[in-house]
Subunit: 582 residues, 2 copies
C-alpha cells in the first residue's frame, strides 16, 4: 500500500497579514521538505488569518487573498519547494452574491476555500460546504457554501495511487455531511483543515469526533488546526492524525507553532466510480528517496487547569503582540482577580513589560496594600503607588455625591489613572473583571471595567481561585517562587469602596452564584427551570434580574463597554431592552 509522509503545519496567522502568514508557511514547507514530507497541510484560512468577519465582503481584501495564493505557489517553486504538495486555507472570491434579489444590503460573496499547490500553481481547490453560524461563528453570514467535493489521486511515478479527500472544519462535524460522500468515493486518507477555537473541555469533544469519523469511514484522518490568539478567541492547535481503527498516530502540542510529521499508509485507490459532485484531480508526489524514519510524535495534554492557563497566556500574549503594544498596565488591589491577571501577564510577556499600580483609598485595608506590593515583588514587575484620596475628594465635594455615586468616583479615578499611564507610555490597559462580575454587573463602568483587554472575562470567579491555586502549585512543583500571595487567595473578596464592605454584602456566595450563572447564562435555562433543579427561588430570581436588567445598567444608564478579552464560546447575545417580567 502507498506510503505518504504528511507534515501538519500548526501556524499562528495574523488576520490580513498575507505576506507574514506566507512567510510562516514557506518556512514550514522548507522544514517539511527537508524531512521528506510529500504533503504539507496548513490550517483553515492559514493564509489570511481567521476569523475575518465582514472583511470577507471587502473587494480589496478578497483581491489581496486572491493574489496571495498564486504568489505563494510561485514562491514555493522559486525556493525549490515546488514538488511538495501544499494544502492551505484562504478566502476565495468575489463570486456572485449568494443572497437577496431586491435588497441592496451587502451579502456573502466569498467562499471559505482550500487550495492545493504544487509546481508553482494551483492544482485543485475545495470550498467548505457547511458554514457554522452559531456561538462564535458567523460563517453563513459571510460565505457562500461549496457544492463539490475533492479527491486527490496521489501517486509517485510507477507506484500505486492513494485517493486523498479534502474537507474543511465544520464539514467533519456535520452528521450526514461530506464525510459520507468521501466514504462513497473510497478515499484512503481524509485531510481536514481547521480553525477550531479552544473551549474548556474542547479536547474531550474534538478528538472523539475525529476518532469516530475515522472509524466510521475506516479512513486515516489528518486534522490540522491553527494556533494563536485572535481578538476574543484563542486557537489551541492540538492537530492530530488518527488511523481507521481509531488509534492516534501523531498529535501536536497545544498553544505553540509546530510541524507535526507522520507517515501514513492509506489504502490503494480503487476503481469505485465517483459519486456525483466529487471531482478527482491527479497529483504526482515528489520522487523522494526513502526518507529517514520518524520518531513517534504524540503529545500528551496537561490537565484542564493548565490547559486553561496556557490558553489565557497565549490569548493575552498574541493580543499584545499582534496589536504591537510594548507593554501592559493594570491596577493591583491585592485581590484575587488583579493578582491572577498580573501573573498571566507576566507569563505572557515577561515581568519587565508589566506595570502594576496600587491605588489605595481611605477604605483600603493595610493588608490589601501589602498584598499588592508583595505580588509585584514576587512577580518582579514594575510597581508604583498612586493614592486616590486627594483626587476623589474635590469631585465628591463639588458634586455633593453620596452612596453608590460616590463609590463609583473612586473606581473611576482609578480607571482614569491607568488610562492616563496608558496614554503617557503606550501600555495596553488590562481590565481585571472576571466572568461572574461581568455577568451580574458587579463593577463600575469607566472605573474598574475600563481597559483594552480583559484576560479573565470568561473565567468565573470560583475558577479564578482554582487557577490561582494551580499556578502556585505549578511553581512549587518546579521549585519556583509562588507568584500569588496566599492572603490574596484566602481573604474574603471585597471591592473596598466603603468601610468593611465584602462582595457577599450584595451577592450570594460565589459557589452558588457561579452555579446559577452557569445554568442561566451559559445553558440558557429560564428562572423556573433553575428553581426546579433545587435552587432557592428568590436567589435565582435575584441573580437573573442582575443579569438581565442589572441595576448598574439602569442606574448608570450605560451598557457595559465592549472589552476585548478571552471568550471560550459565546454566551447569550441578547436584546438590550427586554422585559421578561412585565
Amino acid at each position: 500500500m502507498p506510503r505518504l509522509r504528511l507534515a501538519l503545519a500548526q501556524t499562528n496567522p495574523v488576520v490580513g497579514n498575507f505576506s507574514g502568514n506566507a512567510d510562516g508557511l514557506v518556512a514550514a514547507a522548507r522544514r517539511a521538505r527537508d524531512a521528506g514530507a510529500d504533503i504539507l497541510l496548513a490550517g483553515e484560512m492559514a493564509l489570511s488569518g481567521y476569523p475575518i468577519e465582514d472583511l470577507a465582503a471587502q473587494p480589496s481584501f478578497l483581491r489581496a487573498a486572491h493574489d496571495a495564493v498564486p504568489a505563494l505557489a510561485e514562491r514555493l517553486e522559486a525556493e525549490g519547494l515546488g514538488d511538495l504538495v501544499v494544502v492551505v486555507g484562504y478566502p476565495d472570491g468575489p463570486f456572485e452574491p449568494r443572497l437577496l434579489g431586491s435588497s441592496n444590503a451587502p451579502t456573502a460573496v466569498a467562499q471559505n476555500a482550500a487550495a492545493v499547490l504544487q509546481h508553482g500553481a494551483i492544482q485543485a481547490r475545495y470550498a467548505k460546504h457547511h458554514l457554522p453560524n452559531y456561538s462564535v461563528f458567523d460563517e453563513y453570514r459571510i460565505f457562500i457554501p461549496g457544492d463539490e467535493l475533492l479527491v486527490l489521486r496521489t501517486a509517485r511515478p510507477g507506484e500505486p495511487a492513494a485517493d486523498v479527500a479534502l474537507i474543511i472544519c465544520e464539514d467533519l462535524w456535520r452528521d450526514g455531511g461530506p464525510v459520507g460522500r468521501v466514504l462513497q468515493a473510497d478515499a484512503g486518507l481524509l485531510l481536514v483543515i481547521n480553525a477550531s477555537p479552544f473551549e474548556r473541555d474542547k479536547d474531550d469533544v474534538r478528538l472523539p469526533l475525529v476518532t469516530r469519523r475515522a472509524q466510521e469511514t475506516d479512513t486515516i484522518v489528518a486534522y490540522v488546526n491553527i494556533v494563536g490568539g485572535q481578538d476574543d478567541l484563542v486557537f489551541d492547535g492540538d492537530s492530530v492524525v488518527v488511523d481507521g481503527a481509531g488509534a492516534i498516530l501523531a498529535r501536536a502540542p497545544q498553544f505553540e507553532e509546530y510541524l507535526l510529521l507522520v507517515d501514513v499508509d492509506p489504502d490503494e485507490a480503487t476503481d469505485t466510480p465517483l459519486p456525483e459532485h466529487v471531482a478527482r484531480v491527479d497529483i504526482t508526489l515528489p520522487a523522494s528517496p526513502d526518507p529517514a524514519d520518524l520518531a513517534r510524535d504524540v503529545a500528551v495534554l496537561p490537565d484542564d487547569r493548565e490547559q486553561l492557563w496556557n490558553a489565557l497566556v497565549l490569548g493575552l500574549r498574541d493580543y499584545v503582540r499582534k496589536n504591537r503594544f510594548p507593554s501592559v498596565v493594570l491596577g493591583l488591589s491585592g485581590g484575587i482577580d488583579s493578582s491572577v491577571v498580573a501573573a498571566l501577564a507576566t507569563d505572557a510577556i515577561g515581568a519587565d513589560n508589566v506595570y502594576g499600580i496600587s491605588m489605595p483609598s481611605r477604605y483600603s485595608s493595610p493588608g490589601s496594600k501589602d498584598d499588592a506590593a508583595e505580588l509585584a515583588e514576587r512577580l518582579g514587575i514594575h510597581f508604583s503607588v498612586q493614592a486616590i484620596a486627594d483626587l476623589v475628594a474635590p469631585i465628591e465635594e463639588q458634586l455633593q455625591l453620596t452612596g453608590t455615586a460616590a463609590e463609583n468616583v473612586q473606581a473611576r479615578i482609578r480607571g482614569m489613572i491607568w488610562m492616563a499611564e496608558s496614554n503617557m507610555h503606550g501600555h495596553l490597559a488590562l481590565t481585571n473583571g472576571n466572568k461572574t462580575e461581568v455577568a451580574v454587573g458587579y463593577s463600575t463602568i469607566y472605573g474598574d471595567a475600563a481597559g483594552g483587554f480583559a484576560p479573565i472575562k470568561d473565567v468565573p470567579k470560583t475558577l479564578v481561585w482554582e487557577l490561582a491555586r494551580w499556578r502556585n502549585e505549578h511553581a512549587r512543583s518546579r521549585g519556583e517562587t509562588e507568584p500569588i500571595p496566599v492572603a490574596s487567595i484566602e481573604k474574603p473578596p471585597s471591592a473596598e469602596l466603603r468601610p468593611d464592605q465584602t462582595d457577599q454584602d450584595t451577592l450570594p456566595p460565589y459557589e452558588l452564584l457561579d452555579a446559577i450563572l452557569e445554568l442561566y447564562v451559559t445553558q440558557r435555562l429560564g428562572r423556573e427551570d433553575i428553581v426546579a433543579q433545587g435552587f432557592d427561588h428568590d436567589t435565582v430570581f435575584f441573580v437573573a434580574k442582575l443579569v438581565d436588567q442589572s441595576e448598574w445598567k439602569r442606574r448608570q444608564g450605560a451598557i457595559g463597554p465592549k472589552i476585548s478579552g478571552m471568550a471560550f464560546g459565546r454566551d447569550r447575545r441578547l436584546p438590550i431592552t427586554y422585559r421578561p417580567n412585565l
Copy 2:
C-alpha cells in the same frame, strides 16, 4: 368579486413583553372590528417584539411565546372579537435543532412564524422561508426556515371565496422566493408581515419592491410593518397596500402606532390545483352587515431630513421609555453635536426631562459657554454649570501628565460628572458622538464617549449640521423659537482641549472626510479603489488608517465602548486585530 376589509395594525411591541404586546393587539382588534374589518394584520414578531437575538434559543422564552398565542386567541374570543381573523407574528418552537450532529454548540430551534387566529383558536400557521443574515439581521443564526406555504381560502357564508396568501418579510424580497409559488397558487391577495427597520432612503427601495411584486403577480399586496425603537434599531411603520396594477390603495404614516383600514377586492378563488408544499385552510369570514364606507387613507411622507429627525426622536424616546428611565443627562459644550442631541432629546421626552450640564475648562471659549446656556434657554431644559479646572488640576499634577494624556483627563472628568449625575438621579446618560467621530476615533474613551445611548452615532458630521439647519427651519416655518443657536451651527468645530484647537488641525475637512468614510466604511471599498475615484492618496490612506488602526485605540489600549444608539444599517463588522498594511 369578494370584498374584504383589511386592518393593518402598526403596533410598537417591546421585546419579551408578551402581555403588554397582546394588550396592544387586542385594542387594535377591537377598533378593527368596530370599523367592520374582516382581517387584522399585525407585524412580524408583533407578539414578542423584534429582534429577539439568542432569546430564540431560550426554552423559557419560547414557552412564553408558545403560550401567548392561544392565550391571545382565547382573549379575543372572550372579548367578543372571535369572528375577526387575526394574523400575528411570533417565534414558534422549540423544534428539533436545525444544525450540527456532533457539536454541542447551541443552535436554532425556533421558527419565525405567523399564526392565523379566529374563534379562540389557531386556525393556521406559516413559518418564514428566507432568513436574512446580513447587515443588522442574524436570522439564519437563530431560526429554522419554513418549507410550506399557506393560502387561506376566505369566504362569507354563501358568497364567492378569495384565496389569501401569507408570507413574512424577507420572503417578499427574495427573487424566486415564495412569491413565485403564490402566483402559481393563484391567490388574489398577498399578506406580508414585516419587521423592517428604517434606513435612510429605505422608502425609496421598499415601496418600489412592494409595487413590483404586486405587478409581477397581479395580486393585491398588503404590507404591514411594526413601529418603534428597539435598541439600535427603529422601525418606521410605513405600512402600505398596493393593488395588482401597482396603485397605492392605502398607506400609514411613519413613526407612530396606527390602524390602517382599507377595502380590497381580490379575484375570486379558482380551481387551480395547489402547487407542492402549499397548504390551504378554509376560513369563514365574519358575517358583517355592510360597513360604512372608508375614507381614502394615504399618508404622504415628509422629506428625507424630517424622516431622519423623526427616526432619531422615536428611537431615543423608545430607548428611554422601554428601559424605564425617567430622564436624560448630557454634556453641553456649545458645539453642534451636543446641541442637536439636546434638541432631539427635548423633542423625544420633553424639556422637563432633559438635564444639560456645561463643564467649561480653562480652554473653553466664552462663546462656547454662552452658546450652551443659550441652547438650554431656547429648549427650556434644566441647565447647570460644573467648572472642571479644580478637578483636573490635582490629577494632572499628581500624575505629571502632558500632551494627549492631559487632554484626555479633561474629557474624562466631564464623563465622570455626567455619569455621577446619572448615578445620583437615575438619568440615562447620552453620548453626543457622531458617526464621523466614532469612525475615526476622534473622541476620548471614558470621556466624551461615555454614556448609555448615542442618538447620532450613525449620523455623519455633515448631516448633523444639515439636521440642525432643518430643525431650525422647521421651527421658523411654524412660528416657534429656533432651538439651536446659530453660532453653534456656524463656528468651526473644536474639542477645546488646548488653546485655539480646531478639529481640522487633526482631521481633513468634514465634507471630504465624510465622503471618504462613506466609501470606506459604508460601501467597503479599499484604499486604492477610493483613490481611483479621484481622492487624494495620502488623505485616503490617512483616513483609512484612522478607521482601521486608529491612534486612540493603539495609544490608549482600548477598543471603543459598545454604546447603544441609533444604527441605520450595519457597517463593517471587523476583526480588532487586523494588519492590512504589513
